[in-house]
Symmetry: C2
Subunit: 732 residues, 2 copies
């Protein structure tokens, strides 16, 4: 062996060292460090919504599909309980199945109302000798070609009882509580007479109820040109969008919603039904019938006693009078309607959530119409269908929602929200636990002036946010939100958002919000622009007439520009609700609205004090709720969003906020409505106020010994509910 060479030793040491180093590096990086399953699972569970989805909505939205649905569904009348309506349900079902959605048709058997057999309902005018001077026309004129004119139901008011009544006439303006009050003050007796009321301002069922309470023996409803035409503009349908003299608004006249034969439970095949006699209490006791203004002309112009007040004057070309038929003429109503049990069909489809399948965002629109219903509800049904198609498409391309989406096509809404009520009653148990929100569509495009929304306060922010993502259909340089705001009165100066109306009870959201406490929203386009001028009209003039034909919708929204915007709005709103890690429900807004409304009662302070109503405690509860909501919001801000249970716990609270105002006993005078705040106003079922139960009680006469005790009790219940919600938010 040769002696060790120092240079060789250095070489060997260095070589070994580098070999070792190389080994360390190799070893270190060869160790598998791919994400472990825990991390993957948490990443999946904690995924937040993806804003970019909105780009896909815009890409996919197809006005061709909207047009196809509108065309197909307006070809023949879609009256609930008719064979055509069953076909329409199958049509929706087929389209959804084709898109890959799991759909089902859900049938209920409900009590509907139709003109009886071959009888023609009519209103006639007789002279003193009993000679007929005039009889109302049995049907509206055909103005645009129809495929099956024989299927058009004659004008009638659903659930009006049959009756042959004869007598003097009294004009009651819009038939509101205030109108009857004014007549009373003027010494005009309604009792024993037939009331002639113009449509508009409030729900027709309320008009009939007030007339009945005032002793009328019949009600004739008519559409006055003042409310359904534009002065001097003679472009009546089909030349334009104004109501022709032959057009008649149909509609039901019941104030209690849902199937009258199964109040409180669903109309299944095994369900108990009360006797006819028992049920008759729920219907008006006096006959009621609608006519057009061509016919109304003969009646109104025969009145000669008592010139009307200025704001009671309509647009027919004579001075209106309150009562007193010329030359002892008499008016006769000859009405024969019948209530019959018929099957109705909801179509329901579901896209299951992948992370929280047990949380559901529900979207629905009714499908039935009085006649063709191009506007009400087909403009909305087309929006529902296009929304469904878009979600089905992005689902097929791989998108998976966090929560579930339930899509609903309701039947028999026109008869008093029957399809949705029976379904909600049928599904009450899981809805109570698992429904996050209900997004309603009905008439989607009533007009073309401005976006408008009826929404519970919890969802205000989500609605605003969605409109901020969208361009204005009229000016793509501004957002839909900006366009809407420029056309809306501000809610108040501190919150310069466009005004959102209370949710009311005018459509299928009612059972969701007023029975179960599911936060609800309903948006549409309203108002008319004619020749660049904004026309202030109540609803759209052809509402519930035979003339809601395909041609009408094409006039209002020629290229479906608005239908497209409302579709995108609904898509974006649903995206937020379905995918956002933290539900976009704002408790602070709700607390703010409640506090604001409670302070508006300040004008009643004297009455409250005199009657020992604990108003200050009530105010205190709303302030405590505001504080609790603020602190709760801070909790959300500082939440460990990496912990899926913490996120779920926050969402569970958010989801239950609206439920806190559901009381099992219902409102004191209207137990069928269980929501203390979001139930409709008792004076007008389309409307909605801050404290509907209180409003009902305040309307009681002061002579009623129960008035103030009941108000005291109701204020206790309101105060307690508000404190309860605060406690609920304050808890861990």
């Amino acid at each position: 062996m040769s002696s060790p060479n120092p240079r060789k030793i250095v070489f060997i040491v260095l070589l070994s060292f580098f070999a070792f180093l190389l080994g360390v590096i190799t070893g270190y990086f060869s160790r598998p460090v791919h994400k472990d399953s825990s991390q993957k699972l948490l990443e999946k569970l904690n995924r937040d919504g993806d804003w970019h989805l909105f780009e896909q909505f815009k890409e996919h939205v197809d006005t061709g599909y909207i047009d196809k649905v509108v065309r197909d569904l307006t070809r023949r009348p879609g009256l609930a309980g008719t064979p055509q309506q069953k076909k329409n349900a199958e049509y929706i079902f087929d389209l959804w199945q084709q898109e890959g959605l799991k759909a089902e048709i859900v049938q209920y058997n409900v009590l509907l109302s139709y003109p009886k057999g071959n009888h023609t309902n009519k209103v006639s005018l007789y002279d003193a000798s009993g000679r007929e001077l005039f009889t109302s026309k049995p049907q509206e004129k055909v103005l645009v070609d129809e495929e099956a004119p024989e299927e058009v139901v004659q004008p009638f008011n659903a659930y009006s009882p049959s009756g042959l009544v004869k007598g003097d006439l009294v004009y009651v303006n819009y038939g509101r509580a205030e109108d009857f009050k004014r007549l009373k003050e003027a010494g005009i007796n309604v009792s024993g007479k037939i009331a002639l009321a113009r449509y508009g301002k409030i729900f027709r069922g309320n008009k009939v109820k007030f007339a009945e309470e005032n002793g009328a023996k019949g009600v004739i409803l008519y559409s006055d040109p003042a409310d359904y035409c534009s002065p001097g503009d003679e472009r009546y349908f089909p030349g334009g969008m104004w109501l022709p003299g032959s057009g008649v608004q149909r509609g039901n006249v019941v104030v209690v919603k849902g199937d009258q034969s199964t109040q409180g439970y669903p109309s299944t095949n095994y369900s108990y039904r009360p006797s006819e006699e028992e049920m008759s209490k729920q219907f008006p006791s006096i006959p009621c019938h609608p006519i057009g203004y061509d016919d109304a002309y003969f009646l109104l112009s025969s009145l000669v006693s008592g010139e009307v007040w200025q704001d009671w004057q309509g647009s027919l070309n004579f001075t209106y009078h309150l009562t007193g038929l010329l030359d002892n003429r008499t008016v006769q109503m000859d009405i024969q309607n019948e209530n019959v049990y018929r099957p109705i069909y909801n179509v329901i489809a579901k896209i299951s959530g992948t992370i929280e399948a047990d949380r559901a965002v529900i979207i629905g629109c009714h499908r039935d119409a009085w006649v063709y219903g191009a506007v009400d509800p087909i403009s909305g049904t087309a929006i529902l269908m296009e929304t469904a198609r878009i979600f089905a498409k992005i689902y097929r391309s791989g998108w998976r929602p966090r929560r579930s989406i339930v899509l609903c096509s309701w039947d028999a809404e026109e008869y008093g929200l029957l399809g949705s009520y029976e379904w909600v009653e049928d599904n009450m148990k899981w809805l109570q636990n698992e429904a996050v929100t209900y997004v309603n569509i009905d008439t989607g495009i009533a007009g073309n002036y401005t976006f408008s929304s009826r929404t519970v306060p919890l969802l205000h922010d989500a609605v605003y946010k969605a409109t901020m993502e969208l361009p204005s259909p009229y000016d793509s340089s501004i957002t839909l939100y900006q366009d809407w705001r420029s056309k809306s009165e501000s809610r108040n100066e501190l919150l310069p958002h466009p005004k959102i109306q209370p949710i009311g009870a005018g459509s299928d959201h009612t059972p969701f919000i007023a029975l179960v406490g599911i936060p609800s929203t309903y948006s549409k386009y309203i108002g008319y622009i004619v020749d660049g001028k904004v026309i202030p009209i109540n609803d759209y003039p052809l509402y519930h007439t035979r003339y809601e034909q395909y041609e009408l919708l094409k006039m209002i929204d020629p290229g479906y520009t608005l239908a497209k915007i409302v579709t995108l709005f609904n898509c974006e709103l649903i995206r937020q609700l379905v995918d956002a890690r933290i539900l976009p429900l704002n408790v602070r807004t709700y607390a703010g609205v409640i506090a604001l409304n409670s302070r508006r009662l300040e004008k009643l302070r004297t009455a409250f004090t005199e009657n020992n109503v604990e108003y200050d405690e009530f105010l205190a509860s709303t302030e405590r709720l505001k504080t609790a909501a603020r602190i709760f919001h801070q909790k959300i801000v500082h939440l460990d969003q990496n912990n899926p249970l913490q996120v779920r716990m926050i969402n569970d609270k958010l989801q239950s906020v609206e439920r806190a105002f559901i009381v099992p006993e219902g409102l004191p005078l209207r137990p069928m409505y269980r929501h203390l705040l979001q139930s409709p106003s008792g004076l007008n079922y389309y409307g909605g106020t801050g404290f509907p139960g209180l409003e009902d009680l305040l309307e009681l006469p002061d002579s009623d010994p129960e008035k103030w005790p009941q108000i005291r009790k109701h204020i206790t219940i309101l105060t307690h509910s508000i404190y309860s919600l605060a406690t609920f938010l304050e808890r861990d």
Copy 2:
């Protein structure tokens, strides 16, 4: 340079190779692989309950503490609304604070009832000339030294109205519906007479109600030795546990629970209260008063008309007669009670859950007593206190529960569950969402023969499981479960478990289960063993008398052996409910019980068929529920328990099962009870049956035209609820 030496080269290569290898190993293992935060978080969220905790319960349980609580709380009478009861609340509060529990005293202002001022309520017997032959004793004798005998309230029935009534007497046995029916059949008129009813079998409030319905003008309640003594055994208190002739059972006589002045909402300082007149409808309209058997002797022995049926004969030494006072004697009741508003005090403590703080297991026991209440409720309060102390102790040593525990000491239970009702009404909103179960304690040690339990079907398994963990107090070689089973009738042959009673409405679980649908359970020791012999008695003889003193409890459970077992039972039950990853609520058991009960109605099939009741559909719904429950159980078995949201989703469903039977309108004839299945029987508020609403309706006379329509409707509602629950379980 010398030429390369091959051996050197091999050496260098090998050396480098080994250096590299060493490097690889070093590098590989030097890479940090500690558990990452995701894994830690998931491990924490997915932690299951720890069985070993039970060993700690056994180690910590301290009969000394139990004895201290019993001694301290039985020193002076603990009547609700008295200063002493406020002190007792503070006593509990202090003990809990000392243990480190976050406690609070929650006050309500409620309507209580007491004998009026200095008046002594009495029952007297007069001869035909009006001479007084006998008057009931104003107070029970003092038999064991008392610290403050002047604080003992005279025997009375709370909420009995005042009244001075005089007349003939009629013996009505236990005063059950069947007893009054038998009298009627025998032609004995109760109307206009004073009814004398013995205590036992059913709730005293129901006896008074039936007497009132049968036209009685007053009710005297007494304890017959047949029900409260043992034949031939003269060991009366304090020489033994039998009722002395002087002992009187106090108790309230209202059938609607909770504060009568605030039905449906809590009794806060701002709450509306109806007028006295309005409220009087809720109280009996006839006076009612309790006496002992020494006094009853004089009344009963004066009856001479109509020998009683064999099963109506009590143990006083003469033959009982139904009515007809000897020599035209008359009986007089002179009762003066008053209803007054008084504060009551619940004590509430909370241990917050660390994983799901928003899920709460509630345990409670009342604290108020008619006099000393050593058995009712102090035996239970001591168990509650020891349970709380054990949980506080293990909390201090580091244990953290998954869910929250809420501990409650209720006031004014004896007046109709006031403390618990007002609290539940006050906390309704979060309870509906967040309460998992309610574990009731009341009387913990009523006897010493056998363990017994009143529990909803969902919790049967959890109760059985807890008793399987415990040794029998009498034979440590067998479990408590085995001992219990050997002393119990089997429920049926297929399920040879010991019998569990329906939950009924006899204690503070009532608002939890019957208003909100929170699964509830209540267990205690019952029955007497005297000289090694089992004595079949209704409840314990000294119930609600002055003699429920410390000495009595020491006789029943000398070394607190049983109190210790019941404490450990409650600890183990709560441990399961609080810590188990999947809630121990068994839907299959519930579905099985419902199906079984529905098939028991088979005997009514003919009547159902004749009256068009959809009985087959009802049966079908129970079968579908059974299937749904079985499939749901499979879902639990195959659940990915590593996914905390999947676990929560299953638990959310389990927690809501009981709520599915809550209907807002309540039972058809008793709207104050909202649970279709777990509400008490209308015939006896201590009891409970399968379908209480149906049972009420079946009791209506066949002449009532509403009877069968109402039954048809109620079967619809039952069927629908069962289908709804099935749908809820079947959904994702």
